[in-house]
């Protein structure tokens, strides 16, 4: 193989460009922490748009952690108008397509009336409403996301 330095000048330039572009294609692991209720503020949508962009740019989204009022995103009962975005469905579809972990903080969820089947039985409730694709867990998952991810971005209001 001809040593890189001895290649004709034009071919050398092309190789440099290819190597430069290759080095620019760094893939990062992201996680998002969302604190806002869907519809009540724009931050919920900003988080979703950011998630879409990072995935379309070839990066991975490890976890989306719903805390504070954002737990409402995980309700199976959300019923927006037909011409409005359905955040629950959008996150479910994204999670299914890209294998994203959607985690809802258990303490924030329960006190706001967001409950999965297990907790519903534990607390003797008549029903449960955690949407499919979301899981209820503790704040340790937020910490885990911070440790595992290259970037953790918060969307709050």
């Amino acid at each position: 193989m001809v040593p890189f330095l001895f290649l004709p000048h034009r071919l050398h330039c092309i190789c440099s460009i290819i190597r430069f572009r290759y080095e620019l294609r760094i893939t990062m692991i992201f996680s998002l922490a969302i604190y806002t209720a869907p519809y009540s503020s724009q931050a919920s949508h900003s988080a979703y748009r950011f998630a879409l962009a990072l995935l379309e740019n070839g990066h991975s989204l490890y976890r989306v952690f719903f805390y504070h009022d954002a737990v409402h995103t995980a309700s199976s009962l959300t019923t927006p108008q037909q011409d409005e975005i359905n955040f629950t469905h959008e996150w479910q579809a994204l999670a299914k397509k890209y294998g994203i972990d959607l985690v809802v903080c258990i303490a924030a969820a329960l006190k706001r009336g967001l409950i999965n089947q297990q907790e519903s039985i534990r607390y003797d409730k008549t029903t449960f409403n955690l949407a499919e694709g979301f899981q209820i867990s503790g704040l340790g998952q937020l910490v885990d996301a911070a440790v595992v991810s290259d970037r953790l971005i918060t969307f709050g209001n």
Partner: protein, 102 residues
């Protein structure tokens, strides 16, 4: 190491942007999004502080989707770069951490 600051509150009603500007270093970047894009107006209360940081070399950006939604296309300062979500992703990679001011 540098920080990307995101600000989503209007400086006309919140001191959020002022707080951000106070702790921003020369290597950092600031992204105005949602109602934060109003911070990109010449009429913004902290516009002089914004100028000072830009003159010191800080890059300030405004998210296009939010600028356009609010009809601010011709009103955003010319020294603030209007960017899209792809650029937002790139900025979050370029800087080491993201601090969200809300």
């Amino acid at each position: 190491m540098s920080t990307l600051h995101t600000v989503n509150k209007s400086p006309f009603s919140h001191t959020t942007l002022t707080s951000c500007l106070q702790v921003c270093s020369k290597l950092d970047g600031i992204l105005l999004l949602e109602d934060g894009v109003f911070g990109g107006l010449v009429s913004a209360p902290c516009t002089e502080d914004v100028s000072e940081l830009i003159n010191a070399g800080v890059q300030i950006y405004a998210l296009a989707a939010d600028v356009n939604a609010r009809g601010l296309q011709e009103k955003i300062r010319k020294d603030i770069r209007v960017i899209d979500y792809n650029d937002f992703v790139q900025l979050s990679i370029k800087h080491n951490c993201v601090q969200s001011w809300y």
